[in-house]
Structures are given as structure tokens and as C-alpha cells.
């Protein structure tokens, strides 16, 4: 007798339950996978073991310095091929004391997505001054990265001993910048003698004995920066013997008085000599063209980058350079205060530069933000330089008095369409971009060597955030690690032109962002498709080297040729 369908086809209850459970589990897993793959960056701070926090010394005195610190650097200090991370702490103020002992942090990359704080062991955990930023480079060309830490009322140079430790050689080197509130710093070889020199942007005359009295909405608040008188730049010439000479006066930089912050050293006019672009806070920005004789000429006015279009000196904080529109000429971003917009300037062979702030949509995207760290990088390796920005206000009272401006502000990840028009990728950038911070410094580096640029940023009086890039591998890329011989070993000042169907121009710049230092390797996104890659390297000392048929999806370590280069045979 045939059973009815009712009796034979109906599954038993426990089977139904199992099927339902499996279906749900598969659906959940798929959803999770889809969500994870769509997130551009993942916050891995906690799983990386990074527990350090910045301390700004917040106090009733409302010293402006309390709002401005938090430097960070990607640095491979032990030459194991993995980028480590150095965080600069702030400091205590007369009435702003830390409940715990203050310390910088040097997180050694263990290679498995984990990091370990070895600052104490390395001898870079303590500062005798209030810390601000960090500039990393091999100043003595011994193959190991050294650290210059800025601050008030002094700065310090830590020489890498090549054994995992550092020695404070500030006094011996003569780079203390004593008595000054130093903010940004950048290594660059201004005289092309093969040794990296150092530019320090000093901010303002300041003393913990002189708290200023300002109010916002009847509450004691941080004063406007114009309450503080600016300072001149400090330029140190590397003598090549472990010492430096202060050439501020000789170079003319001692006359450039203003509230200096972010600095980037890059060849603006393509004459092979590094120039300087300095963001200043309510002082006109500086565009210092290298005159090849140890002096610089400020052409910011002629370039129309000193002030905004109306002649107002904006509150410039962070700065970066990169070829945003693909014309082979460096372009610049400068972060400013709320209602000023972060600025975007297209560089030009002839002056003036173009102010592309509104047309790029940067104006609309940044109107309500106070910006600090800024970095051009190609997050998705499509060949177009994108932009990440750190934001965060200084006055908590703004939450009461402001309408659209808030104290904590989100970071921005902006995708470039190739012509310098940016799109906010907030919705897919990752959970870290859905939160708001008192964002400050930002550094970019490929800490897991997968060809995807990662990021780390600091927050005022809070923990940093380490972001792992998830999407770059979808496109092809090529990486360069340069080693100078006649040029400075880090090859700061090199220009790399990559051709692979399209042409991409990149530089190894000094400085960039705000109080930060970055991975010195150059990552060039190539987009989709596999095409041969050629590259022209213009080394800092002027030698031009041409390379053909380079393999993508790997880093190429290149050593500066000692003599005129031979053309590499094309590979069949």
C-alpha cells in the first residue's frame, strides 16, 4: 500500500529544527562575510594589543598645548621588515596631572597582527618635556631609523643603536630647539649633500606661567590661537658627523615668524631640489622654494596658497602632498578649522596654484570639522590618490554653542575620482568611521606587507586606532623601497614615475600630515588588469634610473646606482 504524501514526505520535527538552524547559520555566516568584505578598514587596535593612551594634561588653566599633541609614526626600528608604531605622549600641566606614570609607546610589530610595547626597553618611553610630534629618518645613514621628537620647551633626537635601543643624542647633535614650542618636523636634504637635514616648525611663544583667560558661553575655554605670538622656523643642517648646525638665520627661515604646524618637504617646482610647504595656524602658509644656495624664497603669495581667496590666513594644521589629478605635479591638502574648509590646491608649473577646495567637494565635506592629520594614499590601489582626514574640536563647550559643529568629530575617508573630486566613503569605510573622536595625528603604512596601505591615528586624551586595510588586494599594485648611496639613505626627495598603461607620479616626501611620520616605501596602485610596469626613479642627488618590466604585487628594493645606470634588459 502506498503511503500518502502526508505521511511520507513530511520531515520529522527534529530534522526540521536542524534544517532551520543550518539555514540560519549559513545565512548569518554569509551576511557576516559580506559585511566584513565590504568594510574598507577594520579597527584592529584591541586585537593588536595596543593599550596605550595619550594624555594631554587637560586642566582648568586651559593651556592651548593641552589640545594639540599626539604624534605617531610608522617606523621599522629594528629592521625586521615589519613596520612598528611609535606614539608620542603629551605631558602634565601645572593642574593637569596624570593618574598613571606618563610614557611614550613603541609598539613592535610581531608579524601576526600583534604588537608589543617595548618603549621602556628601547629607551624612548620618557621625555623631559611636553611631547608633540615625531619625525623618523636615518639621519646618519647607518641603515637604522632614528627618531626626532618635538615638544615644549625642547625637542629630542634619539639615535638608533641598532640593537633595539635608542640613545638620546640631542645635546651632542645640537638639535634641542631649546625654549621653543616645537610642533612639526621633517627630514629632507636641502643641500643634496647626502645627509638629511631637519626643519622644525615652531608654534608659539608659550609658558605654563602664563595661563590666558578666555571664555566661551561664560565658561573658561581655550583661547583662540591669535592670543599666542608665533615663532620662527628652525632649520638644522646635518654636518654629516652626528652633529647639526642651526642655519635658521643663514637660510632666512628665522624671519618667517608665525604659528607653524604641519610641514611637507617635496620638490614643488620639479627642479630636483626639495622645497617646503608649511601649514600655519592663523598665520599665512609658507611655500619655501629651495634656492640651491642654502636659502629659500617664500612664494606662497604668488602661488595664492598663503591665504584663502579673501586674504584670510586660515588655521592651517596638517598638510600633505601628492599628485591628486594625475598631471605629474604635486598637489596639496591643508586641514583647517571649522567653517574654513580643509583646502585643496592643485600645483602648477606656473603660478598661481588653483584652489580646488569647493570644486573637489572638500569644502562641503569638511565645513563643520576641525582638521589635523591628513594623508594622500591610494586605499584601493586603483591608481588614484585618495585622502584620509582626522578631525576633532578643541573646546568641549562647542557642543552647547554650536549648531552643526561638534566637539568629537568623525574621521573622513575620501575616494578620488582621478580628477581631484572626492566622495565620502563613510558608509563602507568601516565601523571606525562611524564613530567620533578628538582625532589628531595620522600615519599611513603597510604594516602587514600585503600591498594594502594601513593607517594609525591618535586621539586626544584617548587611545589610538589602528586600521587594517581590507580592499586593496582587489587591484594590482607595486611597491618600492629605495636605498640611497650618494643620496641620503632613506632616499627622501626621490621622485618615482611609474608607467603601466597609465602614468603615476609619486614622491618620497619628508614630513606630511600632522606631527606624524610614515612608511617610507612607495606603494603605487595599478588598478585592475596586468600590464608591464616601468619606472623612472629620480634620486635625490639627481641621478635618473629607468627600470622596465617590473613585477607587480611585490615590493622592489632598489639601491641607488653609483654610476650612470645601464638600462635593464627587458624580460621576455
Amino acid at each position: 500500500m502506498r503511503r500518502s504524501l502526508d505521511q511520507t514526505s513530511m520531515p520529522r520535527p527534529c530534522t526540521i529544527t536542524l534544517l532551520v538552524f543550518l539555514t540560519l547559520a549559513i545565512a548569518f555566516w554569509k551576511t557576516a562575510s559580506i559585511s566584513a568584505s565590504k568594510e574598507i578598514f577594520t579597527d584592529i587596535t584591541e586585537q593588536a594589543g595596543i593599550t596605550w593612551q595619550q594624555f594631554g594634561g587637560k586642566s582648568q588653566d586651559r593651556f592651548l598645548i593641552e589640545t594639540m599633541g599626539g604624534g605617531v609614526a610608522f617606523v621599522d626600528f629594528d629592521n625586521d621588515g615589519l613596520l612598528d608604531i611609535f606614539f608620542v605622549n603629551g605631558g602634565e600641566t601645572p593642574h593637569g596631572k596624570s593618574p598613571l606614570p606618563l610614557s611614550n609607546a613603541l609598539y613592535r610589530n610581531l608579524g601576526n597582527g600583534k604588537f608589543e610595547n617595548v618603549a621602556a626597553k628601547a629607551g624612548v618611553d620618557k621625555l623631559s618635556f611636553y611631547g608633540m610630534g615625531v619625525a623618523v629618518a636615518d639621519f646618519d645613514n647607518d641603515g637604522y631609523q632614528d627618531l626626532y621628537v618635538t615638544g615644549y620647551p625642547a625637542s629630542a633626537l634619539f639615535h638608533n643603536n641598532r640593537d633595539g635601543t635608542f640613545t638620546d643624542v640631542t645635546d651632542k647633535a645640537g638639535v634641542k630647539d631649546a625654549g621653543k614650542w616645537a610642533a612639526g618636523a621633517a627630514w629632507f636634504d636641502y643641500d643634496r649633500d647626502g645627509f638629511l637635514d631637519l626643519i622644525v616648525t615652531n608654534y608659539a611663544q608659550f609658558s605654563f606661567e602664563d595661563p590666558k583667560n578666555c571664555e566661551l558661553n561664560h565658561v573658561r575655554a581655550y583661547c583662540a590661537q591669535t592670543a599666542y605670538t608665533g615663532l620662527p622656523l628652525t632649520l638644522y643642517h646635518n654636518n654629516g658627523d652626528g652633529t647639526f648646525s642651526d642655519v635658521s638665520r643663514r637660510s632666512g627661515s628665522d624671519k618667517l615668524i608665525g604659528r607653524g604646524l604641519g610641514v611637507v618637504a617635496i620638490d614643488v617646482n620639479d627642479d630636483g631640489w626639495p622645497d617646503l610647504f608649511i601649514a600655519r595656524d592663523a598665520s599665512p602658509n609658507l611655500l619655501l622654494v629651495n634656492e640651491h644656495d642654502g636659502t629659500f624664497e617664500d612664494i606662497a603669495l604668488d602661488a595664492e596658497v598663503a591665504y584663502d581667496q579673501n586674504g584670510v590666513a586660515k588655521s592651517g594644521m596638517g598638510i600633505d602632498a601628492g599628485d591628486v589629478n594625475g598631471d605629474g605635479i604635486p598637489d596639496f591638502v591643508i586641514t583647517n578649522f571649522n567653517d574654513q574648509y580643509h583646502s585643496l590646491f592643485f600645483g602648477s608649473k606656473s603660478l598661481a596654484f588653483s584652489d580646488y577646495t569647493i570644486a573637489s567637494h572638500l569644502a562641503g565635506l569638511t565645513k563643520t570639522f576641525v582638521g589635523w592629520g591628513a594623508k594622500f594614499f591610494d586605499y584601493d590601489n586603483d591608481g588614484k590618490l585618495d585622502l584620509m582626514l582626522m578631525n576633532g574640536h578643541i573646546n568641549p563647550e562647542i557642543d552647547v554653542t554650536g549648531v552643526d559643529v561638534k566637539y568629537k568629530e568623525p574621521a573622513l575617508l575620501l575616494r578620488n575620482d582621478g580628477n581631484g573630486v572626492f566622495e565620502d566613503m563613510r558608509e563602507v569605510a568601516g565601523a571606525a568611521f562611524q564613530r567620533s573622536y578628538l582625532g589628531r595625528s595620522l600615519a599611513i603604512g603597510d604594516f602587514d606587507n600585503d600591498g594594502c596601505p594601513d593607517a594609525v591615528f591618535t586621539t586626544l586624551n584617548g587611545p589610538p586606532v589602528l586600521l587594517r586595510n581590507n580592499v586593496s588586494q582587489d587591484n594590482s599594485w607595486i611597491g618600492f623601497s629605495l636605498q640611497g648611496t650618494a643620496s641620503n639613505r632613506d632616499a627622501i626627495g626621490a621622485k618615482i614615475t611609474v608607467t603601466s598603461g597609465r602614468t603615476f607620479t609619486r614622491w618620497i616626501a619628508g614630513g606630511g600630515s600632522y606631527l606624524a611620520s610614515h612608511d617610507k616605501r612607495v606603494l603605487v596602485g595599478l588598478g585592475s588588469g596586468a600590464k608591464p610596469v616601468d619606472a623612472d626613479i629620480r634620486w635625490p642627488n639627481g641621478i635618473v634610473q629607468h627600470l622596465s618590466n617590473l613585477q607587480p604585487r611585490q615590493y622592489h628594493h632598489l639601491v641607488e646606482p653609483a654610476s650612470p645606470p645601464r638600462l635593464k634588459k627587458p624580460q621576455n
Binding site: 578666555c214 583661547c223 598661481a352 567637494h361 565645513k367 573646546n395 554653542t401 552643526d404
Partner: protein
């Protein structure tokens, strides 16, 4: 035969009637004149109205009625009546002169002039008409005719200080300063305080401060230094720009029992001009204490505090005033202005909304509201406010400028027409008001950014002429010149920009009670 007799009778009756009417009208008119002479103008008017009613085409009655109405300041009706009289009796030059006098008092100068021209064509030497023509011409800015007419009737003008003042004013406008001073000398020789003050005011208005001061000093220490006179003297000194002297004149007055709120108020303005904000504040507070119901002292106090960048103190005063005068648009406008400068945009928007509710017909509240909304990033609200305000105040260029700036600076990525709309608005603003520097400035910047360099430089030059103290305008003009390769011009403008900027930053560092926080 009987018909003829009847007709004759009828005619006789009519004539008798008319004669009776005429007689009655005449008696009304005569009675009216008697009453007028006795001072009872109201009854006189009634009698003359009766006379005119009975004989509506009698120019004599009409003229007399017109005179009576003018004596009672019923100028419009008087003018109508005189017009009728003149139409009926065109050769009646006296009535025509009275008509002209009415029109002059009604500020209908061109009509007055036409009537006087008729008189003077027939009687060129008619002194009263020449005098009146002189006054009309002075009022309408025809100073050459005014001087010619007034100087031709010296005996007439000596009887009327205002006409001597008008002659002096005309001479000043014609750059004949010596003649002006001579005329004022004659005016002052009348040896009364009011004529001397009038003379001093004329000299002051013409910018002849030396003469103004001399005239004022001539009545100092005489019977003319009663508190009221000294106060007026101080006012003239203030208008002459002699602020220290104004303060010196007022100081003993405010220390005396005769002190008035007006004196304290004037003293406050003197201190403001002397850059003594603390003293200015004290003076205004005294004025407020003496006249707590007078809103104007609060308004002046807040204005001065804001001008000296004492924003926190100014806001306290504005809050105090707002509590006392909750319907004062002026006070809420000032409150909103200070709140905006402190970046307290939420509060500023509330204040300006109060102002608009209190006095929606005033454009200042609407303008402040739009600007505050833009600053606060409330673009849809600001758009709505600007649109409404442009409809309400179609000739006020400022709203078009605010709207245009918003379109230029807060462009939505999807709005491709914003730039063109902004440019259109700026051109409309310039058509509304060719003296609005901001319209020229913003239009110049748009053209500069679009590569229309010649147009840009022209508009920016105009902005610089209208607002020579603006560092921004000179900066942008330098940019335009630079792009036009006019290097020397660019350098000059840049130097001007740097000089103005330096002056402004050093001003900001002085006179602050507290530093301003970073908002």
C-alpha cells in the same frame, strides 16, 4: 407785452437774487477776515468756506480761504484752494506766490519752482518771490540759482535767518567759502544764540570746522551758556569731530544738577570716539539710570560695546535690555549681532527671529537672521529666509548678496546651476544698489575664478573704491592684477592689503577686557 415784462421781472429777480447772494458771500468773507484778524482762525475758516460756497469762482475768496488754511498748516487743502484761485485769476501773482510757498513747505520743489518762474517772468524784481525761489533752489540742490536769488534780496534775507543760512549753505556748495563766511557773519551779528548756533551748524555741515568753532566760541561765556545751550554746543562740537572739546563741554554739565540723560548719552558717544570705552560705558549707564524707559540709551550702549569688541559685556547689556524692551527690534538685532560674533548661532537665530516678529517691516532683522542661519550651516532655512526677504524687500541688494554667497560657498555636489544663479543674483544686487561694495567684490571673485579677468578687475576696482579700508578687497584685486600681468598694480594692492591687515590686527589686541575664546 406781458411776456417781456415777465422776462424782465424774472431777470430782475435773478439779478436781485445774485446780488443778494453776492452780498451774502461778501459779508461772510468780511466777517471771516475780521475773525482772522482777531485770531479766531477756526471761525474765520468757516466764514470763508461759506463765502466760497456761495461764490465758488471768486478768486479773492478762494485766496483768502487758502491763506487761512495755510496759517493752520492745512497745507494740502490750502494748495488745492490756491490752485483754483490761480486758475481763475492767473494774473494774481500774490496768490501764486502763496501757492509756491505751500508747495515749498510740502517739499514739492519742482512745482514750486514752476509757479515762481511764472511770477518772475511777469515781475522779475518781486523780492518775496526771489527770496522764495532762492529757498526752493537751495532745497533742491540748485545752489547757483539759490545764491543768485538770495543774494539779490539782501533786505529780505536779513529778516529771516533761515534764508541767510540757505545763502551761506549755497555759497559753501559753490566752494565760495569767503562769501559763505561773510553771510554767516551777518547771521551771527543778529546777536541771539539761535542764529549763531544755526550759523555754526551750517559751517559744520559744510565741513568748515574752523568757522563753526569760532562761531560757537563767540557765544561761550555769554548769556548763551545755559545748560541747554551748552548741550547744543557740545552736540555741534561732536558733529564737527571735536570730541575732546565735546567731552570738556559736557563734563561740567553732567556734574551739575542740570544733568540730563541726553547729556550723558552725548558724553558716552564722545568717549567712544576718544577710544575710552570704559568711560563711555559709564556715561551710557548713567543715562539709563536717569531714563530707564528710554530704549535708545541701551541701544547706544550695546552698539559702543560691540564696536570696541567687548562682546561678553555687550551681550550682558543686550540681555538686560531685551528683558526690559521685549518688543524692540533694534535691541534684538544688536543682541543677535553679538551672539553671531561669539559664534553662538542658535541664540543669534532666536534673537533675530524676535526682531522679525517685533518689526517684520525692517530689513535688518531679516538680514541678520539669514546670515546667522548661513553661519550655523542651516542652509535650507537660510535659503527660505533669503527667498522671503527678497520678495519683501526687492530693492534691498544685501539679501541677494547673502543668497549668492551661500550658493557659491555651500554648493551641493549635485547642484550644477548654483554658480550661474549666484552670478545672476549679484548682478541684480548691483542693479539695485550700485554702491554695495560686497556685490562688486563677490562678482569680481566669481569672474576671477572663471577666468574673466578684465571684468573681474573692473568689479574689484569698484569694490575697492567703495570700501577702501577692506584688506580683503585689495588682496583679491592684487590676485586679479597678478593674473593680468599688471605686476606693479598687483604689488601696490598687496602692500595696501598688508598695511590694512597689520593695522587691523594691532587694533584687535588693544582694548579687550578678555581675550576671545576659540569658538
Amino acid at each position: 407785452m406781458p411776456r417781456i415784462l415777465f422776462l424782465a421781472f424774472l431777470i430782475l429777480m435773478i439779478c436781485s437774487f445774485c446780488a443778494a447772494q453776492s452780498t451774502e458771500a461778501r459779508s461772510h468773507a468780511d466777517r471771516g477776515l475780521e475773525l482772522a484778524q482777531s485770531g479766531d482762525l477756526t471761525s474765520a475758516e468757516s466764514e470763508l468756506r461759506e463765502a466760497v460756497k456761495l461764490e465758488p469762482t471768486n478768486p479773492e475768496f478762494l485766496s483768502t480761504l487758502g491763506t487761512l488754511l495755510a496759517m493752520q498748516k492745512k497745507l494740502d487743502e490750502s494748495t488745492t484752494v490756491f490752485r483754483k484761485a490761480v486758475q481763475l485769476a492767473p494774473s494774481d501773482l500774490k496768490s501764486r506766490r502763496y501757492l509756491a510757498a505751500n508747495l515749498w513747505q510740502l517739499h514739492r520743489y519742482s512745482e514750486a519752482k514752476r509757479e515762481l518762474e511764472v511770477i518772475l517772468r511777469q515781475q522779475p524784481g518781486d523780492a518775496p518771490s526771489r527770496l522764495l525761489m532762492g529757498m526752493v533752489s537751495e532745497n533742491s540742490g540748485d545752489y547757483a540759482t539759490a545764491a543768485k536769488m538770495l543774494s539779490s534780496v539782501p533786505q529780505e534775507i536779513e529778516k529771516q535767518p533761515e534764508s541767510m543760512a540757505a545763502l551761506a549753505s549755497s555759497y559753501y556748495h559753490l566752494k565760495e567759502r569767503d562769501k559763505a563766511r561773510a553771510t554767516l557773519e551777518k547771521l551771527a551779528s543778529l546777536h541771539a544764540v539761535e542764529p549763531v548756533q544755526l550759523a555754526a551748524r551750517i559751517a559744520n555741515q559744510a565741513g568748515d570746522f574752523e568757522e563753526s568753532e569760532r562761531l560757537l566760541n563767540s557765544i561761550s561765556g555769554t548769556a548763551g551758556n545755559s545748560p541747554d545751550v551748552e548741550y547744543r554746543r557740545a552736540s555741534l562740537q561732536y558733529r564737527a569731530g571735536h570730541f575732546a572739546q565735546c567731552q570738556a563741554t559736557l563734563q561740567p554739565l553732567v556734574s551739575s544738577p542740570a544733568a540730563t540723560p541726553q547729556m550723558y548719552n552725548q558724553l558716552g558717544w564722545c568717549y567712544h570716539k576718544l577710544n575710552k570705552p570704559k568711560e563711555a560705558t559709564e556715561s551710557f549707564e548713567h543715562a539709563i539710570a536717569l531714563a530707564p524707559a528710554d530704549e535708545s540709551n541701551f541701544v547706544d550702549l550695546i552698539k559702543v560695546l560691540e564696536a570696541h569688541d567687548f562682546l561678553r559685556v555687550g551681550l550682558d547689556a543686550a540681555n538686560r535690555a531685551a528683558g526690559l524692551f521685549p518688543k524692540s527690534a533694534a535691541i534684538f538685532n544688536l543682541k543677535g549681532s553679538i551672539e553671531s560674533r561669539l559664534s553662538q548661532f542658535t541664540d543669534a537665530i532666536t534673537s533675530y527671529k524676535h526682531s522679525v516678529e517685533a518689526q517684520g517691516s525692517s530689513s535688518e532683522g531679516w538680514l541678520g537672521l539669514a546670515r546667522a542661519q548661513v553661519s550655523a550651516g542651516l542652509i535650507p532655512d537660510a535659503t527660505s529666509t533669503c527667498t522671503t526677504a527678497i520678495e519683501r524687500f526687492p530693492k534691498d541688494a544685501r539679501f541677494k548678496v547673502v543668497y549668492a554667497k551661500m550658493l557659491l560657498n555651500y554648493v551641493s555636489p549635485t547642484d550644477r546651476t548654483a554658480g550661474a544663479r549666484a552670478e545672476r543674483l549679484l548682478k541684480q544686487a548691483i542693479a539695485n544698489d550700485a554702491t554695495n561694495p560686497e556685490a562688486f567684490f563677490e562678482l569680481g571673485k566669481v569672474e576671477l575664478n572663471n577666468g574673466r579677468l578684465t571684468d573681474a578687475s573692473q568689479h574689484l576696482e569698484r569694490a575697492a573704491k567703495l570700501l577702501p579700508q577692506s584688506s580683503q578687497v585689495h588682496f583679491v584685486l592684487a590676485r586679479a592684477y597678478r593674473r593680468l600681468n599688471r605686476t606693479a598694480d598687483a604689488q601696490r594692492e598687496l602692500e595696501t592689503f598688508q598695511r590694512l591687515k597689520k593695522g587691523k590686527s594691532s587694533e584687535n589686541q588693544e582694548g579687550s577686557l578678555t581675550d576671545e575664546a576659540k569658538p
